[in-house]
């Protein structure tokens, strides 16, 4: 505190000064002495000091408000009780939160597992396209054009290695069984079409399902073919080709060699005494065209040899030469017209 600071103080300056406020409010002895001395030295400040002093005294004269006795303690115990209840509620909320998040996680896991176990993976090929894929157990599959293969997402976790097929595919199934007398879970492989089931332990075979006719061509090992309609099974031997028709469910052996049947993988069709109609059907299935022969008797013609099916052009070129026809393409329809 410096006395000189108050030399030019007016009423409002005193009222804004914290030292002055302290003096009037509390009247501490050392403050009183200081201010008495100051006013003696600077009598010209006295009128303003007096005016400010009266104003502040008037302000401080305001009514006091005192809480009723006991209120302070009463209110505190109420606050403490509320806080305690709140602590417990928070703890309970936390517990509920943990439990509910645990349950939610459990639900999520269950949902994921059921999705994983129940859903399947689908592989499709378009017309003229083929795909190679391998299953989780290492089995290899070549999917021919215009075909659909389905297998469980949890393929490796299932008792039975199971796939279903529409169209045509070549299978190279990994042999998991070591003891022939005891076939364990997961060792059996089953491929099914709409009409037949093929059960194997580990072999190479071609499975084809077109126009209601399922054809199984066994290249290596042994498989069991079951007609879904009649339930009758047939144990195939290496090199066998078996057909199952959808109307009667009959199983019959075909007079073609199995390796010949699987030749599409190499991009060729090996035919032996095969009718032109059959070749045209295969073409339609693979490339998605409708083929019309203007001379239907041509369809009865049997041919033999190797036809390239790598592209529709090469196949059509071969056909046109063998049959001596002109090829006319109109959208998705192909017309084979006899040359005059």
């Amino acid at each position: 505190m410096n006395k000189k600071d108050y030399l030019n103080s007016k009423t409002i300056d005193f009222l804004e000064d914290s030292n002055f406020i302290r003096l009037i409010k509390y009247q501490y002895a050392e403050d009183v002495a200081f201010w008495e001395q100051l006013l003696d030295e600077y009598p010209e400040a006295r009128p303003f000091f007096n005016s400010a002093s009266i104003q502040l005294k008037l302000i401080l004269s305001a009514n006091d408000i005192i809480a009723p006795t006991g209120l302070k303690d009463r209110l505190w115990s109420e606050i403490k009780a509320s806080n305690l209840a709140n602590n417990n509620a928070t703890r309970l909320r936390k517990r509920i939160y943990y439990w509910s998040s645990g349950i939610a996680a459990l639900f999520a896991i269950t949902a994921y597992i059921s999705w994983f176990m129940l859903s399947s993976i689908t592989v499709r090929t378009a017309y003229g396209e083929s795909k190679k894929l391998s299953l989780p157990d290492g089995s290899q599959i070549v999917l021919n054009a215009n075909s659909t293969l389905r297998y469980p997402r949890a393929y490796a976790w299932k008792k039975l290695r199971q796939i279903s097929l529409e169209g045509e595919a070549y299978f190279k199934v990994v042999h998991l069984n070591h003891n022939h007398d005891e076939i364990r879970q997961g060792e059996l492989f089953r491929a099914s079409t709409g009409t037949a089931q093929v059960e194997v332990l580990g072999t190479e075979f071609n499975l084809k399902e077109r126009r209601g006719l399922t054809t199984v061509a066994l290249v290596k090992g042994s498989v069991q073919v079951r007609s879904l309609k009649t339930g009758i099974s047939y144990l195939m031997k290496e090199g066998n080709v078996v057909e199952v028709d959808s109307t009667k469910g009959e199983i019959s052996t075909a007079q073609i060699s199995a390796s010949q049947f699987a030749s599409w993988k190499e991009g060729k069709l090996i035919v032996n005494h095969t009718s032109v109609n059959e070749i045209i059907q295969a073409f339609e299935d693979l490339y998605g065209y409708k083929v019309i022969l203007d001379n239907p008797t041509l369809g009865q013609k049997k041919i033999g040899g190797s036809i390239s099916i790598k592209s529709e052009q090469s196949l059509l070129f071969t056909l046109s030469n063998i049959l001596n026809v002109n090829v006319k393409k109109e959208g998705k329809t192909i017309r084979l017209e006899s040359r005059r």
Binding site: I12, L15, I21, I59, N63, D64, I65, A67, L71
Partner: protein
């Protein structure tokens, strides 16, 4: 300085969940807060509710609160907020503006002002009359300034005003009083009208 340090410290202890710290804070500030609340609400039950809300809310939200080195100011601000939301709730169905505070119970009393008889001039009597004409908000500012010794910054925060506005307001209120002290009766009426204009903010 020591006081401020312990303010920071006790507040930090409370934030960490020390119930004794909350107790200490309550014991120290209960009277000030009760007085302030009563001057605004003028109803013991409502003030009790507000203080209850204030201290339970502080405890409930302690993990989210920041530090402070001035608990008095913090509590006054917080109490003012609680009272404002209390107002909103209470007056929901009545058409009363939230900020339209109608009362601030601060009654100046010439008899208890300890003013010496020789000082009781005409001017002092006029001043005493003039002070009764202060608006509730002006009274609140004067209360916070001279009774709670808060700075203009703190007052403006508590009352939701800009600092400049508060300072201007307080200075003008005081200026008015000062002028009343020195002017004659004739101009007094004009000044009262001036004081009423200040109430616009």
């Amino acid at each position: 300085m020591n006081f401020q340090l312990s303010d920071t410290d006790i507040w930090a202890r409370m934030l960490k969940g020390d119930e004794n710290a909350l107790d200490e804070i309550y014991q120290v500030y209960f009277d000030s807060l009760y007085r302030y609340g009563m001057r605004i609400l003028n109803n013991e039950d409502e003030v009790k509710d507000c203080l209850h809300n204030l201290f339970t809310k502080i405890w409930e939200t302690r993990t989210k609160l920041g530090p402070t080195d001035n608990i008095r100011y913090y509590l006054f601000s917080a109490l003012k907020n609680v009272i404002n939301s209390h107002y909103t709730k209470e007056k929901k169905y009545q058409k009363v503006e939230i900020n339209d505070q109608t009362v601030f119970d601060l009654q100046f009393n010439l008899e208890s002002a300890y003013i010496k008889k020789e000082e009781l001039t005409e001017k002092v009597l006029q001043l005493s009359q003039a002070m009764k004409q202060l608006t509730p908000r002006q009274k609140e500012i004067i209360y916070l300034r001279y009774f709670e010794e808060m700075s203009y910054d703190q007052i403006s925060e508590i009352m939701g005003l800009t600092t400049k506005g508060t300072y201007k307001l307080s200075a003008r209120a005081l200026e008015s009083l000062r002028q009343i002290m020195q002017i004659d009766k004739g101009l007094l009426l004009l000044l009262f009208m001036e004081l009423k204009k200040i109430n616009v903010f």
